[in-house]
Amino acid sequence: MLHTFVALVEDKTGLLARVTSLFRRLNVNIISLTVGGTETAGVSRTTIVAEAAEDRAPRIMASLYKLEGVLDVDDVGRHSAVIRELAMLKIAADQNTRSDLFQLAEVFRARIVDLAPESMMMEITGSASKIEGLVQILLQGNYRILEMARTGRMAMRRGHHASRVLEALGDTTPRIDPKTFSGILRHEAPDLLEDESHA
């Protein structure tokens, strides 16, 4: 199954290599990886989507925490979360096909961000399935996708959950359910590909 981890890490040279090297060492394939800034200076946020058996998540998390410079790890796939991805598509388009593509963009809530005599560029944000839906429609309509760039997923838990805030408030409730480790309680992971409501 696909796991989605959010790891807050110190913004230091080489830390990303440590994170990716860990997945390689654990023989776990990374499907997508995004890295960027956070609300805290000096802290980077990475979202890692990885393919692994369901029961391997605790070990992956535990191993991530063992890396120096990893501050916080959250298995967001196990919680209600907003998961988004951004894609840019360059599509071959001329006068005859342009208007159809404009309509398609509107249906998918994509934006046209560049227009050239023989091509146009669409920008779309959403869940992976939404992006894949657009790609599928384009291919079925015999449009030529000249280039596609996808960011990989970013994820954030819904609601008030925020590890930094909880810590600042002195909440010491363990983030990890110890039962996870005694094999008694199995978490039901929601379908990661489920489309978040966009309407």
Binding site: R59, M61, S182
Partner: protein
């Protein structure tokens, strides 16, 4: 001899040594030593070279003994052996490029066995970093997966904080090796050295540590209701210093103890509740006990494939409590019912006051019955049939040394015979490469152990194959004037590989017979005394001679060539499906063969 002594002396404490308690301007090179002194380091194992020369140049000002090795792999194993024998952090030093890469096997050995170690390497100047300069290698990249953490230090002012952090990381939680790579220009420039200000971040316990009241209650319930409990003792007991607590747990609940290879010295061999070693070459009754147990209490061990056999058939009747400091080990190989994640000593101290005594007689009696006459391991009493067996050699060394020596083994058949026939009663008295299984480990690791514990008798037990991998360190023994006894179990084969070829490759002894030098002459060439032993009758007297000799002594034991280690679990087989000692094998064990 004088010249040799002089060399050794110049590297010992010189009178005008420096200890800096106040902020002082120092070069980066001086900072390295000053920080090591501050961390309590007295011995460093290393090999100089271009990119680390500034550091070596500054050594004379500091009260640190440097042991010049013959190959950097030796430095890493020595630091490792030093750490295993003492429990303190071992320190190895090397230059950039090949010096650094030669450390790699030793670092991986320490990583797999969770040994606290700090390796310091020189690196080319930061100005040419990344240009494939002479002797430049990306050692932090290379060692990334085999260190707990590593640092590339480019600025003088970062040296002390990085080194202090390295010591903190190496020792805290589950220990392991840390590498600090320091560019040459950082060694040459100066900065204010302030030991106190360079203090590392306080240890942040792993956030997934969890031994809450619910799991403690569940563990207590399992312990109270178990009829056939068994403690699995691992090396974590030594790391945690929980020897007394494990002993109290065993005695209070009358629970027998099975040890992993690295856990052998964590529980006294002579204790009536100690069953012995488990796993691939564990004794039959130990593995049977595991398969029949209804509760396993795993203390500081990681269910390595060498101790579980086939996972699908492992301890099928047992509930499992896993007490372990590394959350990544919980449910890795074996699914457990209760995971108590944290420091073993603390967790046992929480459990112990709440545990009632227990009558374990029935279960202990059942295990005794399984032993049958296989338990009569007194091979001393066997008549001499003219053959010299490795088991006799180990058994005699155990007798003669009263079980008090630190034994440092290599990897292979002799390692397993050592584990079976040398009964260790004191913690840290067996030093061996378990996880990585590094041949060539014994001789250098013994040098480290001897420096850590100069008052202890140290024995190397190595095979003829592994010994040749690192035997140049004999010269290090001589230069450092160390009293180390060396027993080579010489069977003319890469014995364990030959045993596998015998059992699983139709006796196709491909590339396992090996020619060795005359080890006694080799020792002699180094100025080390030695003796050959071919007869069982000569074992004890020669071991005595070695012990009485003031300097290092090497004994080349020419043992039975095609002897095998029994019992043995074939790879992939279940723990109870052991290949037992064949009937014609003169080394006891008869009636209980299946």
């Amino acid at each position: 001899m004088d010249k040799r002594k002089k060399i050794a002396d110049t590297h010992r404490n010189s009178p005008d040594t420096a200890i800096y308690t106040q902020p002082t301007p120092l070069t980066g090179a001086e900072t390295v030593w000053a920080t090591l002194v501050g961390e309590g380091v007295r011995d460093v194992f290393g090999y100089p070279g271009g990119a680390i020369l500034p550091v070596y140049d500054a050594l004379r000002k500091f009260p640190i003994r440097h042991i010049l090795v013959r190959h950097e792999q030796g430095a890493a194993h020595m630091a490792d052996g030093y750490a295993r024998a003492s429990g303190k952090v071992g320190v190895a030093m090397a230059t950039s490029g090949p010096g650094a890469t030669n450390l790699v096997t030793g670092i991986a050995t320490a990583m797999l066995d969770s040994i606290p170690m700090v390796c310091i390497t020189g690196q080319v100047s930061s100005k040419v970093l990344g240009t494939d300069a002479f002797q430049e290698v990306d050692i932090t990249g290379i060692t990334l997966p085999i260190t707990k953490h590593n640092f590339l230090v480019r600025r003088t002012e970062d040296i002390a904080p990085a080194l202090r952090e390295a010591f903190r990381i190496a020792q805290s939680g589950r220990p392991g090796p840390v590498l600090v790579d320091i560019t040459k220009d950082a060694q040459q420039s100066s900065a204010i050295f302030d030991f106190a200000a360079a203090a590392p971040q306080p240890y942040r316990p792993h956030p997934m540590l969890s031994a809450d009241s619910t799991s403690i209650r569940e563990a207590l319930e399992l312990l109270r209701t178990a009829k056939r409990p068994l403690i699995l003792a691992g090396q974590g007991i030594l790391h945690s210093g929980a020897m007394e607590q494990v002993r109290a747990l065993a005695e209070r609940t009358q629970t027998p103890v099975a040890c992993t290879l690295l856990g052998l010295t964590a529980f006294p061999a002579s204790h009536p509740l100690n069953l012995g070693m488990m796993g691939m070459h564990g004794e039959s009754w130990v593995n049977h006990a595991i398969q029949q147990a209804d509760l396993l209490i795993a203390c500081g061990m990681r269910f390595d494939d060498r101790v579980t056999g086939s996972l699908s058939t492992y301890a099928p009747n047992a509930k499992k409590i896993h007490i372990e400091i590394d959350p990544a080990e919980i449910n890795k190989n074996v699914r457990v019912d209760v995971g108590l994640i944290g420091d073993l000593k603390e967790i046992l101290e929480t459990l112990l006051p709440r545990l009632p005594g227990r009558d374990g007689a029935a279960w202990l009696h059942a295990i005794s019955a399984m032993k049958g006459d296989a338990s009569v391991h007194d091979i001393q009493q066997l008549p001499d049939n003219g053959h010299l067996y490795a088991a006799h050699v180990i058994n005699d060394i155990w007798h003669v040394t009263n079980g008090d020596a630190i034994v440092v083994t290599d990897v292979g058949q002799h390692q397993m015979w050592e584990a079976q026939y040398y009964k260790h009663d004191s913690p840290r008295s067996l030093i061996t490469s378990g996880g990585l299984g590094t041949m060539g480990f014994a001789l250098p690791a013994a040098i480290g152990a001897k420096l850590a514990c100069p008052e202890k008798e140290v024995w190397v037990v190595a095979g003829d194959g592994g010994f040749q991998m690192t035997c140049p360190e004999l010269a290090t023994i001589v230069q450092e004037q160390l009293k180390i006894n060396i027993a080579i179990v010489n069977n003319g084969y890469l014995g364990m590989v030959r045993q596998w070829q015998e059992k699983f490759y139709e006796k196709n002894y491909e590339c396992t017979p090996l020619i060795s030098p005359d080890f006694v002459k080799l020792a002699d060439a180094h100025g080390i005394r030695g003796a050959h032993v071919n007869r069982r009758a000569d074992v004890i007297s020669t071991v005595e001679t070695a012990r009485q000799h003031p300097g290092a002594f090497l004994i080349d034991f020419h043992v039975e060539q095609e002897d095998s280690v029994y019992p043995m679990i074939a790879p992939g087989a279940a723990l109870h499906e052991m290949i037992r000692r064949p009937k014609h094998n003169p080394l006891v064990e008869t009636a209980t063969e299946e």
